[in-house]
Every structure is written in structure tokens, then in C-alpha cells.
């Protein structure tokens, strides 16, 4: 069947050598297997993330995101803007909705966009890659390419914040979303049910500015995964992945814990289940080796 086209917004942390860069190949493999064609937005810019507000004014942040939307509207007609990074997606979607609600902001935004030779009418829909998988592909179709079911793997589905709130996946609960567990099942692994930290905040950008406070959050998230007998954590959020994975060593140092819970991005799971290599899955990019996943990949 023909591949479905999407305007892809990788986001800064997916750039080569950046914190989420290792997910890029796995996203490519996954999408390829599911007949999803991601076309990178030409010359996309940063969304200003959830921390941009401090210095950046409301309008500045709106125009930054509007620029990406405008680029899609202009160069990739009919394609939804899709991002793998919740922060990018959220900032873009909030912009799209705000401009739709408030005419004056739409006018101001276009006035500013003109400076970059762009304009935005508001026709582009901003979506998260997970939305595309669930709504356009569906769980059943996600199962089909599975050649190496991830049997014997117990995985804690850590949904985090921004893929889940305030918009979330249609029909899902903010407090107890099920979709990630369902995705874990589609690839043949066992979800760690009752994982009550699944929507706890990892601290987001404050992992930098308020390390102690954020690391307390991360500690809860990881320990609860241990409590529920998980072999690893999976998350749809790149920042969550980074925060929850890389700070475990810090926490161990400070708190004398022995946390070493692998944290993977969902596309890594699917790539392995779809028969991809460890390299394609970018597992070499994980700071904490997801051994069991590596084993299956190397089978």
C-alpha cells in the first residue's frame, strides 16, 4: 500500500550528536515498516520548548512555532506536522490552537512572519508521532510487522506529561492512560500493570535548574518500575527518556541507591520487534544497556 506522508519535525534534541539522536534510526525503521513516510520540514526551527517562556515573550514563542507551521503549509500541502518530541509537538499544537482562538494574535503573528517571508493561514494540524501510530495506523496494524515478539520482557510504560496532558491521546485518561501498555503488548512484551508513576513528571527542563527536586521525581519513577518487576522503562517522550535514564547515576551517588533501570524510547522496542538490529534500534545510544532487548535483537 502507498505510504502516508507526514511533515516531520525532528526537534533540536534529535539533531546529530544530540541527546535524542540515537532514536532517529529506530523511528525511521518503525515508520518504514508501518508505511509512514516522514518528510523533514525544510529549515525547521526550535519550538522554544517549555522553558522558552522565561526570556521569550508570548508572541516570540508563537511566531517561532508558527514559522514551522507556515513552512509546512507552504511547502508540504496536505501533510500533518508530526513530531517525535512531545515538547516540540505540544508547543506547536498549542500555538496552532491559540492562533485559531485569538484573531489578534494570528494577525500579529503573520505580521512578524512576513519578516521571514512567510505567512500562516492556520490549515496545518500538529500531531505527535504516537497519535499517528494509534489513530492512523492502529494497534492491529502495529502488530503485523512483528517478527521477534519481545517475549519474557516486562516493561513499565512511563507516559510522562506532555504526550498526555493537556491534550493527550484522544479517549485516554490523563491519570491512567492505557495506550503505552497496549503498545507494549503489540510488540509481544508484558506491560507492568499498576505502575502508578506512569504519569509522574520527571522534572522536565528543571532537571537542569532544580536537579535535587527533579531527581526526587526520577527516583520515584524508577523505583516504582522496580517494584512492579519491570526489566526496563519505555517512554514516548525523548526528554523523559534522557532525564530518567541519565540521572540514575547521579541519584545513586547522592542517595547510595543502585538504580540501573534501562529506559528506552518506544520506537526502539518496535524496531527490535520488527526485526531491526541493535544498531538500527539505536540501543548503542542508551546509557544504561537494555540487555534483554539487546539479546532479542541479536537472536
Amino acid at each position: 500500500m502507498a505510504k502516508k506522508n507526514y511533515a516531520f519535525y525532528p526537534g533540536c534534541s534529535s539533531q546529530k550528536g544530540a541527546s535524542a539522536s540515537n532514536f532517529v534510526p529506530s523511528i525511521e525503521v518503525m515508520c518504514d515498516k508501518l508505511d509512514i513516510q516522514l518528510n523533514e520540514i525544510p529549515d525547521w526551527n526550535c519550538c522554544s520548548a517549555s522553558i522558552g517562556y522565561g526570556e521569550g515573550s508570548q508572541l516570540s514563542r508563537l511566531v517561532l512555532n508558527a514559522r514551522n507551521l507556515a513552512l509546512v503549509e507552504q511547502n508540504m500541502p496536505g501533510q500533518d506536522l508530526v513530531s517525535g518530541c512531545p515538547a516540540c509537538w505540544l508547543a506547536t499544537r498549542e500555538t496552532a490552537e491559540k492562533l485559531h482562538e485569538v484573531e489578534s494574535l494570528m494577525a500579529d503573528t503573520n505580521e512578524a512572519l512576513k519578516e521571514a517571508g512567510l505567512s500562516f493561514k492556520g490549515t496545518v494540524k500538529a500531531r505527535h508521532l504516537v497519535e499517528v501510530l494509534i489513530e492512523d495506523v492502529g494497534f492491529e496494524a502495529m502488530k503485523e510487522p512483528v517478527v521477534k515478539p519481545l517475549e519474557g520482557l516486562k516493561i513499565a510504560g512511563y507516559v510522562g506529561c506532555q504526550t498526555n496532558r493537556p491534550f493527550g491521546i484522544a479517549g485516554e485518561s490523563f491519570e491512567n492512560p492505557q495506550y503505552l501498555d497496549k503498545m507494549v503488548e503489540t510488540v509481544g512484551a508484558e506491560p507492568a500493570t499498576g505502575y502508578e508513576q506512569k504519569v509522574t513528571c520527571c522534572g522536565g527542563a528543571l532537571a537542569f535548574s532544580e536537579p535535587e527536586k527533579s531527581q526526587k521525581q526520577i527516583k520515584d519513577i524508577v523505583e516504582s518500575a522496580y517494584d512492579h518487576g519491570a526489566d526496563m522503562i519505555v517512554t514516548p517522550c525523548q526528554l523523559c527518556q534522557a532525564n530518567v535514564e541519565i540521572y540514575q547515576s547521579e541519584i545513586n551517588k547522592k542517595k547510595g541507591t543502585k538504580l540501573s533501570m534501562p529506559v528506552v524510547y518506544y520506537s526502539q522496542l518496535m524496531t527490535v520487534a520488527y526485526g531491526g538490529t541493535a544498531k538500527q534500534a539505536g540501543l548503542d545510544g542508551n546509557v544504561l544497556r537494555p540487555q534483554k532487548l539487546l539479546d532479542i535483537a541479536s537472536k
Binding site: S173, F174, E175, N176, E196
Partner: protein
Amino acid sequence: MTASIATNQTILVVGGGISGMTAALEAAECGKQVILVERNATLGGRTALLYRYFPKMCHPTCGMEINLRRIKANRNVRVMTMAEVQEVKGSRGDYTVRLKLSPRYVNSNCTACGECAKAVDAEIDNPYEYNLSKTRAAYLPHNMAYPMQYVLDPSIIGTADAEKAKAACKYDAIDLAMQEETVEIRAGAIVWATGWKPYDAARIQPYGYDRFANVITSVEFERLANPHGPTGGKLLRPSDGKEAKNIAFIQCAGSRDENHLRHCSRICCMASLKQTHYVREAYGDDAKSTIYYIDIRVIDRLEDFYQQVKKDPTVNFIKSKVAKIAEEKDGNLVLHGVDTEGYHRYATTHDLVVLAIGMEPETNGIKLPDDILLDSSGFIEGASGGMFGAGAATSPLDVNRAAQSATAAALRAIQVVHKTSTVEGAR
């Protein structure tokens, strides 16, 4: 039953709860002809499932006994149970109403002797216990049921159980051939006393009603406290049957919340205050009740009741909308939030959490005739022509106000049939 029993002088009352019974009786005791239709197998509605009323702590069944006696004594009222309004045609003074009559599979021969229930094996969730317990699939809704007749659950029709029930009945009261029928009746005026239903607690996700066994609703707690209820009146929590002595009452569960119900359901504060009495009655000084509230809304003389509960050392008040509930391994629940009076953070453990669940119109999701006006929450605000709302169908009301509203609705209906009669008299 056929249309012949009714004329345009007849008042149709839809709903056999306290409001519908009141509207029907008040009109009938003025000498008017009334047909009272109820969707369930018995009259009584939701008040019949309450243990006590605030503020007198008296028993709803006491008033129901009087109302049933009034109905039995009054030939102007005709009661039709398991009857649902499907369509209303016509206009003020001359309506034709199509009713769907669901089969009860038990006829008026039934003496309520109970032999059929003994014969049947199948069990169903008991709707008259808010599904907290099971009942045989041949059952009497409750001790105050009217008509005092058993009913067969449709799920056993066509099974051996149904035949067993039939065989057990010496009075051929069981008629498995009963079919759904539709009848049309005439009416001059229609009173909609369709009542309320508890908001779907599972949708209030932070409170985990769908995940935690020991988070229940206030209507369910009424059943626990009731000596006729599933626990024989003991306050036993669902997860392990352990006595719940340290109970949290969460106000505005669904109410005053734009994610759920915009309106304030009015009765919930009093309901929780009342329910702290149940806890105290059960355990005396060992009882512990905590009420988490935004505003305590107990108006007029009911304030006395609030002040009295406030003096009870076993009852605690915390001004706070609970943020979230977490379950511990032993089934206890930890409530997280902030007491906004001076900003005090809490994480308090309770044996049982009772959600003071909000009221929404029973008719939400049901299509009502077009000339009935609904407010933003779906309550009946008014209607053009000869139709009137009564009781909790019109607004979240306590029983007393519901009965007032129903009495008023009865007069409005009488005005309609009076006008038609005088007009016809003039002709």
C-alpha cells in the same frame, strides 16, 4: 391497558420516585385522574434506596409507606411500572403518548411468596443495591416494592432457570410468553418527574473509582449503612470486608467542575454530614470522618445540622479539593492535596473514601420532546404547552424541595385540564 382508560382530562406523571408519586397523589387527591408511569419494576425511585434523610435522620421508607397507602386508597391513580415513554404527540390539553411496556414475566397473580427465587440458580448484579451485591434472577426489588410482585430478569428467559421459576410458582403468576408491548394513552397534561442519577464516578480519574475498590460513591455508602443492604448495615469496605472506621468524604465529586458537571448538586454537603452520623453510630468515639470540601453548602435551617456535626470531635473538616488518591498495598487510600486555609499540604491515609457524587438528570442521553427546555446541565428548565418538570428532573434538589416542586407541578397540570374542561363545558 389501552387508551380508553385515559382522556384529555387525565394527567400523566412520568417517573415513580418521590416526586412522581407526590405529583400524582396531590393531583389525584384534588379529584383528578392520574396515570403514573415508572420505568423500573417498582415505585420508590432513588429515595427508596437511601438509608436515612437529613436532617432528621428519619427513614425514607416511612414516607414511602404513607405514599403507598395513599396510592392504594386512591382510585384516581393508575400505576404502570416497567413502562417507558417513547413518544409524545399533540399539544397542551390533548397529548397522545406512546408507552413501551417491558415484560415483567410475572403477572398480578404473584403473591410475593418467593418460591420462584428459591428455584432459580442464576444471579444478577442487584440494581437496587447499586450492584454492590448479587440477587437471584427472579427477585423482589425490595421490601417496600410496589407493586409487591416479583420480576424475572430478561437474561434467564429461554433458559432452564425460567422454566424452574415457572414450575415453582403454584399460582401461575409466571408468564414466560410475556412480550414487550407499546400502548398509546391520552393525557391533557404531562408532569416529567424523571429524577436524577449519580454522575459516573469512574470519569473522575484522579480519584480512581475505577481502579481502587475502596473508593465508593455516597449512594453506595447509603446501601452499606442500611440494615437491609448488602452488608446488613455494617460499614465494611469492598476490598477485604474490613470495618471502615477512618472514612474520607470528598465533596464536589463531579459537581462544580467544568470537566464534569458545571452545577452544584446542592445535596452532597448535607449527604456527607449525614453520613458522618452513620460512622459515629457504628463506632462511637473510635469513628473518624474527614470531610474535604470547597464550600459547605447547607442552607436555611439545615445549618443547625452542620453546626451539630462540627461539634462532633470525630469529624474533621478540611477546605480542599483533593488532588489525587493513591492506593496502598493493604487497600488503604492516601489522599493528597492542600488545605487552602493557610496552605497546609497533606497526604492522609483512610480506610475508605466516599465520593459525594454529583447529580445529573436521569434523562441525560434520552431524547425528550422538543418543546421541553433544558438548561446547560440538562435539567428541565420549563416547557411550552402542557408539560411540566417536577423534582430533581428540574434541578438538583433535596427530597423536601423535590416534593414542593412536584406539588407545584401538580397544580400547573390541573390548570391545564381545568381549562380544557371549562372550554369543553362552554362548547
